[in-house]
Symmetry: C3
């Protein structure tokens, strides 16, 4: 797909300086852009790139001063960063445009599929499933009995949603994610073996949630595991049974949340962090990567680190102190030597 | 599905107090239960919920005393908890009831499929595969050449089992789990590159094992990676080549076990714990979450924590000591000052 | 498949001592081998196994001295280890031999499939995809629009490759791996919610790369996430957007690499290690298991451990010092007591 400076300026309500017919077919960073690329400059700090870039078109702010001649065609807009972001989205929308129902796919006669759906080949839609409008179910996805999806939901290839789960509007779920598998619940027998505790709850995912590749979210034993609106979950994250994740919380890759944890709103979990079972995490908490949380966090909006965790500043200080231990030991040894001498002198 | 108090009492051999025709269609915790829900009270500590619950039916122990009137219909049984667990299981069995062979699926003519199988659409059963009776192979599962499954095995959607692997009776394997992929074995070349070492062993999973979503269990280089009877493995766990996991061991989410490790029986691994290669872990060991095991554990039935690991009590004490380091440094500084003064006094 | 000593000697250019018609149908370690097994002895240290093994055929070095009679048929070669490795590979090649295009599969008319391909049932090859020669695409794989695969690429069942990604020759990608899912990029709004930043880059995987089960490699926001030639990535590893992994680097299971990290060549990452965003890791660095890297590593070929990381020797020493803390505290207490006494003496 090729677009001219004229096309793009029209779309962004910008003004062109240079060749109206300059054409681009890809988007790139200004310092990496080649011929045929569209780029942008938002931060005046990087102005020099404007004079050296090989991009064919560059979007800049209306108030950007040009100190030297620019080879590229310029499009001026109110906010170059927002304008470029808008183009990224449009580009992606075109790239990801899919529609229609491919064969062979499996759609149970009782399932309700909304308008303008994409159902890929080898996708499986079970009994009593409801899909809203504009849903995209890529190939090899499995949606079990009685699942409900809102509007504009995208399941990339190979997503599994177990029975009775509910997924809100605008959800994006990446390949291999598993929603609603059994919680890890077993009752010990006297002989050391375990009986499985049936897991009959579900997972509820509210609107505007994104879930990464191969992430796993277990169903509740009874009731619901709940992912509130606007939550963003990265690849390979584990959310156990009966967890509640508060609105707009962000969880980085490979983090794990144990059973019955309640995470507040706007929490940020770094990668490979873990939270032990049945704890509460206050709103706005920030957990450093690899943090281990073994007790509830009650004070909101604080940063934490270490395993087991401490206030982030204390954690940093503890690390410094650990590194100074050989020095401290030496000081104690010297004191011991001096004392030995002193005692001789005194007695 | 609706059930009446009379139906349920018959099933549980209980006695009804109240409306024999009270009907329920779901199971819920007593404090969350609404109209149409069945709940239970086992622990007398929570007796007050009995008088406030909106559940339509509540199962209680035969010896439960009622201090106030109860709105719900009551079913009395010997053990309310066991009775409720039984209902959970029955509920789940009904929910997960699937049978027959859906089309299109791929079943090699040489494969042997036992009685009463469910083979979902887009499932793939390769050459010389043997499935026992009552197996459920959900859609998008792949079972490679020469794999043997026992009776009552459930593979949820998207499970992959590589060639030659053996899975015992009653196994439950959740979506996206991969059984028998190649062990991570490479021989270094002088130029820094690696040659792959062919991985020709298999994975043997004994009876009564459950494996979580997106867990990975690698085949042995030669011989077998072995998961003994009754083992329970949570989501996103990694079991490397040639590992043996002892009977009734439980491994929580995101834990990793390196190559050729031998884990004893009844071991409990917390989440995100790791074990380095070629180690032995004694029976009944308990590893705290995020523990890092870098040497064999010889003493059975002990609890361990930290990375690198220590006895759990030592680990806790070390954490306290680390937190007291600033205080210790201050005490040393004071001693140094006193000594300086003392030396003046003495000399 | 059965092979005789004569067949095998011919293949390996070796000489037979014993029964030319001795037949084997499996490969095994010499100490575990049974009747019908082929084994090898390369290390003279284990010579005693030669006299006790139940293997039907054993491959040994030309210069191996036999001190006692050997029951098994012997095949002598220049290098027994290399010869056995060759057999492992041949065995594996036979085991994994698949060819042809199975039905139902989905191959877009615009896709180009090279010679001698295997395309399994329920595999999906999208628009404008190019596959080189000798590619094996197992069932339930999904290859999105405009993806390019080199020659001899194997995708085991259930691999997903998102649009525009490029995979070099001889790549082996295990089940459930996801290549090219969206980077984890969101722009915060004043109300605490996030806007998704469209991820329009791709993943480029060079030649001779192996990627483990359920590993995830995210596409770049713009530009490319790059996995250089000869890299080996284990199961459940996370590689974030815009990362570059240098040639012949090896990454063990469950490790995570954050966005825009640049890893050098011949780096070795132990299991469950993590690297924070935007850092550089020098060539030849060795990261212990569970290491946490929070600043760039500039010095090449060094070993590191701990979270946050230190030079490996310092990390080990710090662990010793932490364990000695109770002792250090006791020494300080004793000094305090002595000083108190001394002060009495002096004043």
């Amino acid at each position: 797909m090729q677009f001219t400076a004229k096309d793009i300026a029209l779309m962004l309500k910008g003004t062109v300086e240079g060749d109206l017919l300059a054409a681009v077919d890809q988007l790139a960073k200004i310092e990496e852009a080649g011929n045929g690329s569209l780029s942008f400059l938002a931060n005046p700090k990087y102005e020099q790139y404007l004079y050296t870039t090989n991009a064919s078109i560059v979007i800049i702010n209306n108030d950007q001063h040009l100190a030297q001649p620019v080879k590229a065609t310029i499009i001026r807009v109110d906010n170059a960063y927002s304008a470029f972001t808008l183009l990224l989205e449009k580009y992606n929308t075109i790239k990801l445009h899919k529609s229609g129902i491919e064969q062979p796919s499996f759609i149970h006669p009782s399932a309700k599929v909304g308008d303008n759906a994409y159902i890929g080949a080898f996708a499986y839609i079970s009994q009593d499933v409801t899909l809203g409008d504009n849903c995209k179910i890529y190939p090899n996805c499995y949606i079990a009995d009685n699942v409900k999806l809102g509007n504009n939901v995208t399941l990339f290839p190979g997503v599994t949603v177990y029975f009775d789960c509910v997924i809100g509007n605008n959800a994006i779920i990446h390949s291999g994610a598993v929603i609603g598998s059994d919680g890890f619940g077993f009752a010990p027998n006297p002989d050391g073996s375990y009986n499985k505790i049936a897991q009959i709850g579900n997972v509820i995912i509210e609107n505007d949630v994104e879930i990464g590749s191969n992430a796993t979210i277990d169903r509740a034993t009874m009731g619901s595991t709940v992912i509130r609106a606007g939550v963003k979950i990265d690849n390979l994250v584990q959310i156990a049974h009966n967890v509640e994740v508060g609105a707009n919380t962000v969880i980085a890759a490979q983090s794990g949340v144990s059973g019955s944890v309640k995470i507040g709103e706007r929490v940020m979990m770094g990668g490979q962090a873990g939270i032990a079972g049945h704890l509460n995490i206050a709103d706005g908490s920030q957990l450093n990567a690899q943090t281990g949380i073994n007790s509830s966090i009650k004070e909101p909006n604080k940063k934490w680190g270490g395993s087991p965790y401490q206030a982030y500043q204390d954690y940093l200080r503890a690390q410094v102190n650990i590194r100074k231990l050989p020095d401290l030991e030496k000081r104690v040894r010297e004191l011991e030597n001096i004392i030995t001498e002193l005692k001789k002198d005194v007695h």
